[in-house]
Amino acid sequence: MSEHHHEPAPVVDEVSDFEILEMAVRELAIEKGLFSAEDHRIWTEYVHTLGPTPAARLVAKAWLDPEYKKLCVTDGVEASKAVGVDWVNSPPTHFGTPSDYCNLRVLEDTPTLKHVVVCTLCSCYPRPILGQSPEWYRTPNYRRRLVRWPRQVLAEFGLQLPSDVQIRVADSNQKTRYIVMPVRPAGTDGWTEDQLAEIVTRDCLIGVAVPKPGVTSNTTRPIHKAVHPVEHGHGH
């Protein structure tokens, strides 16, 4: 390179192929009258109100109330109502959507059984009770590797499990959506529902972490620098 030369930086974020595809399909669907632009706006606004708080509350309640815990395990959709989530009627469609089928299973961990959730086919996630999935949950890396090397992937999240604990991976490939009910950790005797709900993080509900007193946020995943990074230089 003979002289220093700056190419102009883009002023907008790059739009991915998938975003272009989504816009094209959305516009076609609106033109064909499958739904209106207004329907789309209402749905988008609804989805952005969702988060993991109701699922954390469900687990905390179940830890304190054995009868409620039984209901959670046998009928997750019914149990969700106690934390303000009606799988059928909360979504603006009043029947769910293909990505939010009205079927929740609560997977109960025990001291010798640890559940962890993935969707290998796409990124099915119990959105009505857990909100939008984290970016890593949707990556081919997580989806391909969790089913085959669950212990290694969990270790990357900082969760090392002894060999006498059975790992059960739940691959949500059809109409069931899953959340994990972890074991109530030691050191939480006498805690209130509010206190307990605070330590049930999104990661605990997916199963890649276990609750710990004092830990109320998700850990950041370690980012390993590429061994052979791709150069995006200018003017070469």
Binding site: L34, V77, W87, V88, N89, T93, H94, F95, G96, Y101, C102, N103, R105, T120, L121, V147, R148, P150, R151, S163, Q166, I167, R168, V169, A170, D171, S172, N173, Q174, K175, T176
Partner: protein, 123 residues
């Protein structure tokens, strides 16, 4: 006058609104072929166009943990064919059964996923 067949795109909404999906197919699949605890093998059938049966469990033997719901199979529903709902089963496999190279140190590790009835046979 047009004789062109118009597909009813509101069909799903009309059966599922206020009831939910898969709840709207309850009672429509007839008698289930398998029960909880049965040992089953996943068939390896051709999947032209669309399927939700992963490749990795095909041919593997597992145990039915739960009859989960009734629904049209994904292969039919993708074309809006809801005429023949099937039973769906949750099946648990030993990881070693799915991945022969899975570490011997963890023989109890398992994986659970769902299949429509057409994908399973008695093992």
């Amino acid at each position: 006058m047009s004789t062109k067949h118009q597909h009813d795109r509101s069909h799903h909404a009309s059966i599922a609104t206020g009831i939910g999906d898969p709840q709207c197919f309850k009672g429509k699949a007839g008698k289930p072929k398998f029960k909880e605890g049965d040992t089953v093998r996943v068939k390896d059938m051709p999947d032209i166009f669309y399927t939700r049966c992963q490749v990795y469990p095909r041919g593997a033997v597992g145990r039915v943990t739960k009859l989960v719901y009734e629904s049209p199979a994904a292969e039919d529903e993708a074309w809006d064919n809801t005429d023949k709902p099937e039973w769906f089963y949750s099946v648990a496999f030993k990881q070693k059964e799915l991945w022969p190279e899975y570490s011997e140190a963890y023989p109890n590790d398992t994986l659970e996923t769902e299949f429509s009835e057409r994908w399973l046979e008695k093992a």
